[in-house]
C-alpha cells in the first residue's frame, strides 16, 4: 500500500503544480520577458491586482494612473513646476473662469482622439457622490467644452490651490467608453481592459504580479521626444522585507519602494544598489510624521503643555536610532523640504522649538505643572495626575521604537507618557473617534502646495468621526480662515502665499496644535545591474521621484521611466 500511495501522490504533485498556473496565457510564446528590456518594480501593491479603475484611487493596480491613465498636468515637486502633460496650456480668463487647452494629436489606446469632452466628462463624473473628488462641485459651478481642444470651468469660489492640485492628481478618462456607465460601474467595477493615453498598455496579470507593455503610439514620443525605456514593466506584489532585499541584491528587482530597515548598509556596501542621495538620509522626503495630541483632553488642550512636550523630544535620537539616519528631523513648521521657500525663517527663529529638556521643565513649571505628590511626574495646575498614552500601530517596528524614545524623553522632563501598540485597525478607530491621548501620523503626502498640509492640520468643523484630517480635534477659527484664504490664493502669486503662510506659521508655532517629528522617506532603492541613469541628486542625473507609489506618477515619477538606460549598452 505504501508504494502505491507514494506514486499516486507524486503524480498528484505534478498534476496540481501544473494546475497551479492560472495566469492568463502569455502572448510571447515560450520563455519569458527579455531581461534587458524588462523593468522589475515592487513596493506599492499589497495584494493581487484587483482593479484598473483610475477613479478608485486607494487601490488601483500599480501604474493604472501614470502608465495607462494620465492627468492634464504633472507637478514636479523637486523643481516646483507644473509640467503640461495632456494639456498644452492653461489660463485663468478671469478670477472665476479657467480654460485648459489640450495637446493636439493625443489618442486613446483604442485610436479615438482625446477631446475637451473627455476632460469635462471626467469632472461631470464627480456628480456621483462616491467619486473621491466629488467635493469639487461644492465650489465648481460648471464645466463645458468650448471647442475640440478647450475646456472651460466656471467657479463659484475659485480655490486656486486645490484646483491646481486637481489638474495634476485626477486622471482623465475616455468619455466614449465611460459615458454609459452607472455609478456602480464607475466606482465599483474592476475596469478590465483599461483604455488610456499613457506610455504603457495592460499586458497581463496574475496573483503576484502586474505586467505592462510599452505603448508604441504614446503621444509624448512625438510631442516631447520622450520614450519610456523598458519594453515591459513587471510590478511584483510586496513580499517580506527579507525576500525583497534578496531580490534586489541579486538584481531580480530593479526598483524597490519598500522601507527596508538597514538598507543604508546595503547602499554603502553594494556598489550596484543606489538611492537618490549618496549619503544620509539617502531618500527624498515624502511626508512628515507628526505627533498628534488630542486637544480635547487635558492637559493637551494647553498650548504651554504641548510646547513643553514638543521641546522634550529628542528627534536626533530617533533619526540615529531606529532609522540609522534614513530620515531627517522635520522643520519646526513641519513643512517638507520641497516647501522650504514657504518657511518663514524669522517666525521660526522667534517661535521655533528644539530639543531642550531644561526649557521643557521650565515651561512646565511656569505654566503651573508641578510634581505635587512626589512620584517624579508632574500634575496639572489643578492637581490632577497626568498619565498619557502614546499609540502607534503594532508591527510598525520603526515607529514602535520611536514611540519608546518619545516616552522616555517626555518622562525625563516629568511628563508621564507610556507607549502602547494596538492593532492598526483598532488604532484607526480610536484616532477617528478622538479616543486617544497621543498618536503618530504621517498620512498627508507631498503635493504642489503647503495648503494640503494646513488643511490636514486645521480643518474645521470637527466631526464626530475624523477620518483623514485634524485628528487632534484642534479648533481655531483664525487658522482655518487663513487656510481657506490660502486655498483661494492664485498658485503663481507666491508672494501672497508666503504672506498667508507666514501668518499661519506664527500662530501654529505659538499654539503647537500638532508636533512635527521627522520626514518619512520616499523609500526607494534601485539596482544598476540591468538599468542605469536612475534619479539622483548628482549633476546631470535625472531629478525625478524614483517611485511607483500610488498617486506619485502625477508628481513626475513616471518621468523616471523615460530617463532609464539599459545597463551595459
Amino acid at each position: 500500500m505504501g508504494n502505491r500511495l507514494r506514486w499516486a501522490s507524486a503524480a498528484l504533485v505534478v498534476g496540481l503544480a501544473a494546475a497551479g498556473c492560472t495566469g492568463g496565457g502569455g502572448g510571447e510564446g515560450e520563455g519569458g520577458y527579455p531581461r534587458a528590456q524588462t523593468l522589475y518594480t515592487t513596493g506599492t501593491q499589497w495584494g493581487p491586482p484587483a482593479n484598473w479603475n483610475p477613479i478608485m484611487n486607494w487601490e488601483y493596480t500599480t501604474g493604472t494612473v501614470g502608465y495607462i491613465y494620465e492627468p492634464l498636468f504633472l507637478y514636479d515637486p523637486l523643481a516646483g513646476e507644473y509640467i503640461p502633460w495632456l494639456a498644452e496650456s492653461e489660463e485663468w480668463v478671469d478670477d472665476t473662469t479657467y480654460e485648459v487647452t489640450l495637446r493636439e494629436g493625443v489618442e486613446w489606446s483604442d485610436g479615438e482622439p482625446l477631446t475637451a469632452e473627455d476632460v469635462v466628462f471626467t469632472y461631470e463624473l464627480a456628480r456621483f457622490e462616491s467619486v473621491p473628488y466629488s467635493h469639487v462641485w461644492d465650489w465648481l459651478a460648471s464645466a463645458e467644452a468650448v471647442d475640440e481642444r478647450t475646456a472651460r470651468f466656471e467657479f463659484e469660489t475659485p480655490r486656486y490651490q486645490e484646483w491646481a492640485y486637481f489638474t495634476y492628481s485626477n486622471p482623465i478618462v475616455p468619455r466614449h467608453l465611460w459615458q454609459d456607465r452607472s455609478e456602480e460601474e464607475v466606482t465599483a467595477s474592476a475596469n478590465e481592459n483599461p483604455v488610456g493615453t499613457g506610455p504603457y498598455l495592460y499586458e497581463d496579470h496574475s496573483e503576484d504580479r502586474q505586467v505592462y507593455r510599452r505603448n508604441p503610439d504614446w503621444w509624448a514620443i512625438e510631442a516631447l521626444d520622450m520614450r519610456a525605456a523598458p519594453e515591459y514593466i513587471v510590478d511584483i506584489v510586496n513580499t517580506s522585507n527579507e525576500v525583497t532585499q534578496r531580490l534586489l541584491t541579486q538584481g531580480e528587482v530593479d526598483l524597490s519602494n519598500n522601507f527596508l530597515p538597514g538598507i543604508n548598509q546595503t547602499i554603502e556596501g553594494n556598489p550596484s544598489i543606489t538611492s537618490y542621495f549618496e549619503e544620509p538620509p539617502y531618500m527624498l522626503a515624502a511626508n512628515t510624521a507628526w505627533l498628534v495630541p488630542n486637544t480635547t483632553r487635558e492637559p493637551m488642550d494647553d498650548p504651554e503643555f504641548r510646547r513643553a512636550l514638543a521641546t522634550s523630544i529628542d528627534i536626533e535620537q530617533i533619526v540615529e536610532g531606529p532609522y540609522s539616519n534614513l530620515v531627517e528631523p522635520a522643520d519646526p513648521t513641519g513643512l517638507l523640504p520641497a516647501w522650504d521657500d514657504y518657511v518663514d525663517q524669522d517666525v521660526v527663529a522667534e517661535h521655533g522649538f528644539g530639543h531642550d529638556p531644561d526649557e521643557a521643565e521650565s515651561i512646565l513649571a511656569e505654566a503651573g505643572y508641578e510634581d505635587t505628590d512626589g512620584d517624579g511626574f508632574v500634575e496639572t495646575p489643578d492637581g490632577d495626575a497626568v498619565e498619557l498614552t502614546l499609540i502607534v500601530p503594532s508591527g510598525w517596528t520603526d515607529w514602535m521604537e520611536a514611540a519608546r524614545i518619545i516616552s522616555e524623553n517626555a518622562q525625563a522632563v516629568g511628563i508621564n507618557v507610556t507607549e502602547e501598540f494596538p492593532d492598526q485597525a483598532a488604532l484607526n478607530d480610536q484616532r477617528a473617534a478622538g479616543d486617544f491621548d497621543l498618536v503618530i501620523n504621517n498620512e498627508r503626502q507631498l503635493s504642489n502646495t503647503p495648503w494640503t498640509y494646513y488643511d490636514y492640520m486645521f480643518r474645521l468643523p470637527v466631526q464626530d468621526s475624523q477620518t483623514t484630517v485634524n485628528f487632534g480635534r484642534y479648533e481655531n477659527e483664525e487658522l482655518w480662515d487663513l487656510t481657506q484664504e490660502l486655498a483661494e490664493t492664485p498658485v503663481d502669486d507666491t508672494e501672497a502665499m508666503r504672506d498667508t503662510i507666514s501668518r499661519i506659521q506664527e500662530i501654529q508655532l505659538r499654539e503647537m496644535p500638532i508636533i512635527p517629528l521627522w520626514y518619512n522617506g520616499l523609500w526607494s532603492q534601485y539596482s544598476t545591474q540591468h538599468w542605469g541613469n536612475w534619479p539622483s541628486d548628482a549633476e546631470g542625473a535625472p531629478h525625478y521621484l524614483p517611485t511607483t507609489w500610488r498617486n506619485y506618477n502625477q508628481l513626475g515619477a513616471v518621468l523616471t521611466l523615460t530617463e532609464l538606460e539599459p545597463a551595459g549598452g
Binding site: S9, L16, A17, G20, E59, P132, R246, Q424
Partner: protein, 331 residues
C-alpha cells in the same frame, strides 16, 4: 455502517454550522472598520467626500444593515454559492480570489501531508529495527517536529536558496516567466514549489517518524508479538502485524493534526511569498476584509472536515474491529 456514516455526517454538519458561524462572528468582533481601512489608502483627504464615499460603500457591502440581518444574508448568499465581494481586493468576488489561491495551497498541502505521513510511518517503523538508526533518527525527528514551520522555511530559504543558490525563494514561478504548457515553465514552477513543500514535509515527517517508531516498539513488546515469535513466525511477519496495529493511532493522529498542518502551510506560504490562502488570510485580517476572511476559513473548514471524513471512512476499512463493533451495534 450506514448508521455510523449517518451519525458522522450529522456531527460534521453541526461542526460545519458552528465553525462557519464563529468564522462569521469573530472578524466582526475585532475593532476596526473595513470601509475606512479601504478608503484611507486613497489620496483624497477631503473629509466630506470621504463621508459620502463611506456611506456609499457601506451600503454596497451591506454593512449598514443590523448584524442579525447580515448574518442571515450571509447564509442565504452562501446557499447560492456567493461569498460576497472582497473589501481589500475590491471589486473582485471572494470566490474568484479563493479559486485562484486554493490550487497553490493544495499543491503544497496535499503532497506534503500524504507523503510525510507515508514516508514518516515507513521510516519510523524501519528505524525501530536498528539501534544505530534509532539513535540518530529519534533526536533528528524530535528536532524536526519541534521546529516551527516558518522557521524551518526561513532556514531552508537561506541555506538552499540564498547560500547554495539551488532553489528560488519567492513566488510561484519566476517573475519574468510567462505561464504556459512548456518545459521551461513547468520546471520553473516545480523549482519554486520545492522549498515550501520541503519545509512542510520535513516538519510533519519528523512527527510521524517518531510516533511510528514508538508505536512499533510498543507493539513488538505486546503479547501477541511475543506469542507469534514463540510460535516461530518469521520476524517479517511479526513486524507486518505490528505495523498494521501501529498505523491505526497514526491515522487518528493524521485527522487530529490536519488543522495544525493547514496553519503551518499558511505560514510557509507567507515565508516563500507563495500566493495561496496564507497570504490572503494575513492581509484579509489586516484589512478587516470580513468577506474574504469568511470565505478563506470556509474553504479551510470544508477541507478539514472532508479530510477528517475520509480518514473516518479509511479507519473503518483498515480496522476490522470497528466494523465488528458496528455490526454488533446494528444487530
Amino acid at each position: 455502517m450506514r448508521r455510523y456514516l449517518a451519525r458522522k455526517i450529522l456531527i460534521y454538519a453541526l461542526t460545519f454550522f458552528v465553525a462557519v458561524s464563529v468564522n462569521w462572528l469573530i472578524p466582526r468582533l475585532m475593532p476596526g472598520d473595513p470601509i475606512r481601512t479601504m478608503l484611507s489608502r486613497g489620496a483624497s483627504g477631503d473629509e466630506e467626500s470621504m463621508e459620502r464615499m463611506r456611506a456609499y460603500y457601506e451600503q454596497t457591502f451591506g454593512l449598514d444593515e443590523p448584524a442579525w440581518q447580515q448574518y442571515l444574508n450571509f447564509w442565504t448568499s452562501l446557499a447560492r454559492g456567493d461569498l460576497g465581494i472582497s473589501v481589500w481586493l475590491f471589486p473582485q468576488p471572494v470566490t474568484e480570489i479563493l479559486l485562484a489561491a486554493v490550487p497553490y495551497t493544495l499543491a503544497l498541502l496535499l503532497p506534503a501531508t500524504l507523503l510525510s505521513w507515508v514516508a514518516g510511518n515507513r521510516f519510523g517503523a524501519f528505524a525501530a529495527r536498528s539501534r544505530w538508526l534509532d539513535n540518530t533518527v529519534l533526536p533528528l525527528g524530535y528536532v524536526l517536529t519541534a521546529t516551527p514551520y516558518m522557521w524551518l522555511g526561513i532556514l531552508l530559504a537561506w541555506g538552499l536558496g540564498i547560500v547554495a543558490g539551488w532553489f528560488p525563494t519567492a513566488g510561484p514561478y519566476g517573475f519574468g516567466s510567462i505561464p504556459g504548457w512548456n518545459w521551461p515553465f513547468i520546471t520553473d514552477l516545480v523549482s519554486h514549489w520545492f522549498l515550501p513543500f520541503a519545509s512542510l514535509f520535513l516538519v510533519a515527517f519528523g512527527g510521524w517518524a517518531i510516533g511510528m517508531r514508538n508505536m512499533i516498539i510498543y507493539e513488538l513488546e505486546a503479547e501477541y508479538s511475543t506469542y507469534l515469535e514463540a510460535l516461530g513466525a518469521p520476524r517479517r511477519l511479526v513486524r507486518r502485524y505490528a505495523f498494521r496495529n501501529a498505523v491505526l493511532p497514526q491515522l487518528t493522529g493524521l485527522a487530529v493534526q490536519l488543522g495544525t498542518i493547514v496553519a503551518g502551510a499558511l505560514l510557509t506560504e507567507i515565508v516563500f511569498a507563495y500566493p495561496g490562502l496564507g497570504n490572503l488570510i494575513l492581509e484579509a485580517v489586516n484589512n478587516r476584509d470580513f468577506f474574504l476572511l469568511q470565505g478563506a476559513f470556509l474553504f479551510i473548514v470544508i477541507g478539514v472536515l472532508i479530510a477528517n471524513f475520509i480518514v473516518d471512512v479509511i479507519y473503518v476499512v483498515v480496522d476490522p474491529r470497528t466494523r465488528t463493533q458496528m455490526q454488533g451495534g446494528a444487530a
